[in-house]
């Protein structure tokens, strides 16, 4: 079987270099691009992201990527959103101002109250029904965020706790969102990312 080709969505925001190196280390071919003609010839999209929701959606809009990503998702293209990339999958966010998202996962993004940030290594608890993430149940991953997507329960794949539990992974058919950074979570992160990519592409 030939290596999968991953399309890393380059919308001018985010830590593309780390995601790119991690995927290459895992043996995948990568295309870092914002051009549909290039992204069309990939097996799966990774939507990375660091920063604020509004600025990221403005960037996606400015590169005419919103409709393209929505269309590809509806056509069954596997998409993995990482950190802010997961939040962009939501219907909308209240970060700084109300901004609509890609609308690929029901639910809205809101501040992680009462804690103002969730930074560092935390354990995830995986829902029993999610076989992609199940091998990572109880493992620690690196988080760096202050907003969180809370979808209806049927879309929740994993949670973490800061006192109260909150959602840190979501799934809707061919769409997966990871609030943590697998590419910066050392060996456990790499294992999880491989499981998710292989699981989505071979489903």
């Amino acid at each position: 079987m030939s290596a999968l080709t991953i399309g890393i969505i380059d919308y001018g925001v985010g830590n593309l270099a780390s995601v790119h190196r991690c995927l290459e280390l895992l043996g995948y071919r990568c295309r870092v691009s914002r051009e549909p003609a290039i992204l069309d010839h990939t097996d799966l999209f990774v939507l990375p992201g660091v920063g604020a929701f509004t600025a990221a959606m403005e960037a996606l809009n400015s590169f005419n990527l919103v409709q393209y990503l929505q269309q590809q998702a509806h056509n069954g293209k596997p998409i993995v959103g990482i950190c802010l990339g997961m939040q962009l999958l939501a219907e909308a966010s209240n970060e700084f101002s109300y901004t609509t998202g890609l609308g690929l996962i029901p639910g809205k993004v809101s501040a992680l109250a009462p804690e103002r940030c969730h930074i560092g290594w935390n354990t995830i608890e995986v829902h029993h029904r999610d076989m992609l993430l199940k091998p990572s149940d109880g493992m620690s991953f690196y988080f760096n965020h202050s907003y969180v997507l809370e979808p209806p329960v049927e879309y929740q794949s994993a949670l973490a706790r800061l006192g109260a539990p909150f959602t840190v992974a979501v799934r809707h058919d061919n769409i997966v969102g990871l609030q943590f950074h697998p590419e910066k979570s050392q060996g456990e992160g790499q294992k999880l990312l491989r499981n998710v990519i292989e699981g989505l592409c071979c489903a």
């Binding site: 780390s18 940030c117 930074i119 965020h145 979570s185 050392q186 060996g187 992160g189």
Partner: protein, 263 residues
């Protein structure tokens, strides 16, 4: 105890690499330096040895108004770090910070910007999110017990004003890097009063400067306000020190030591 019993946010052990004139150095109070070698090699070592986060501080960039060391970040990026990276040095505005993040850093430290323009820091937070911003404060304690803040460019020190404290509490940065610059580079010398007396009440603190031994780290990690401890020279010299420190601190809420085996 099941794994679920550990389902809490861990405190972190940071490895620090200090860079001056493009070379990694062992620093002594930011006054004297010994060369250590190529910074990308030291960063890669900390990545392999299992640091929870790596702080790369390029200490002469703001002094020379040189901006961030993007070339160094590019070289580090090519090595494919699997550990979160904090970058400090020369970040002047949101564009600088975005360039740093694009090249593989997860968070940025700001120091000179805090002195110059808190307004620009707010702009930075709107672009990157507060979680990506750390306020770096070189501090010391006067004979009268007051905490004073050093502007390392001018050498001037000032008391932390209520305005600065209010700003730190106002959600534009996620953590404060409390640097004991006087004792930096000296073993077991961190002045824990800097943490105990730090005036801002709600922002988590990262302690750095003169930290090396497990007993000292344990004392700091037991402080509720301390989210992380940062160790420089002591980690860079000895390959198994991260493992040894984590083993010695096993009762603390740190992530257990894991050997990196993916490369």
């Amino acid at each position: 105890m099941s794994l679920r019993g550990f389902a809490v946010l861990k405190k972190r052990l940071l490895g620090v690499v200090t860079v001056r004139n493009g070379w990694a150095v062992q620093s002594f109070g930011y006054r004297q330096y010994l060369p250590l070698g190529r910074p990308e090699v030291l960063v890669e070592n900390l990545d392999r040895w299992g640091a929870d986060e790596i702080l790369l501080q390029c200490i002469d960039r703001s002094h020379h108004e040189a901006g961030p060391d993007l070339g160094l970040l590019e070289r580090i990026s090519r090595r494919g770090l699997a550990t979160p990276l904090i970058y400090a040095g020369g970040v002047r505005n949101a564009d600088d910070a975005i360039s740093v993040i694009k090249l593989g850093a997860d968070r940025v430290c700001v120091d000179a910007l805090l002195h110059e323009s808190p307004i620009r820091l707010q702009g930075l937070a709107r672009k990157l999110g507060a979680q990506a911003i750390i306020a770096s404060l070189p501090l010391s304690i006067t004979g009268g017990g007051e905490i004073v803040w050093l502007d390392y460019r001018s050498g001037q020190q000032q008391v932390l004003t209520p305005e600065v404290v209010e700003f730190l509490d106002s959600s534009f940065a996620s953590e404060v890097l409390v640097i004991d610059w006087v004792h930096e580079g000296r073993p077991v010398a961190f002045d824990s009063r800097l943490v105990a007396r730090f005036p801002a009440s709600s922002i988590p603190l990262i302690a750095f400067g003169g930290l090396s031994e497990a007993s000292q780290l344990r004392q700091l990690l037991q402080e509720p306000r301390v989210s992380a401890v940062a160790v420089g020279n002591a980690l860079n010299y000895r390959e198994h020190n991260i493992s040894k420190l984590k083993t010695a601190l096993i009762e603390q809420p740190l992530r257990p030591h894991l050997i990196q085996c993916s490369r």
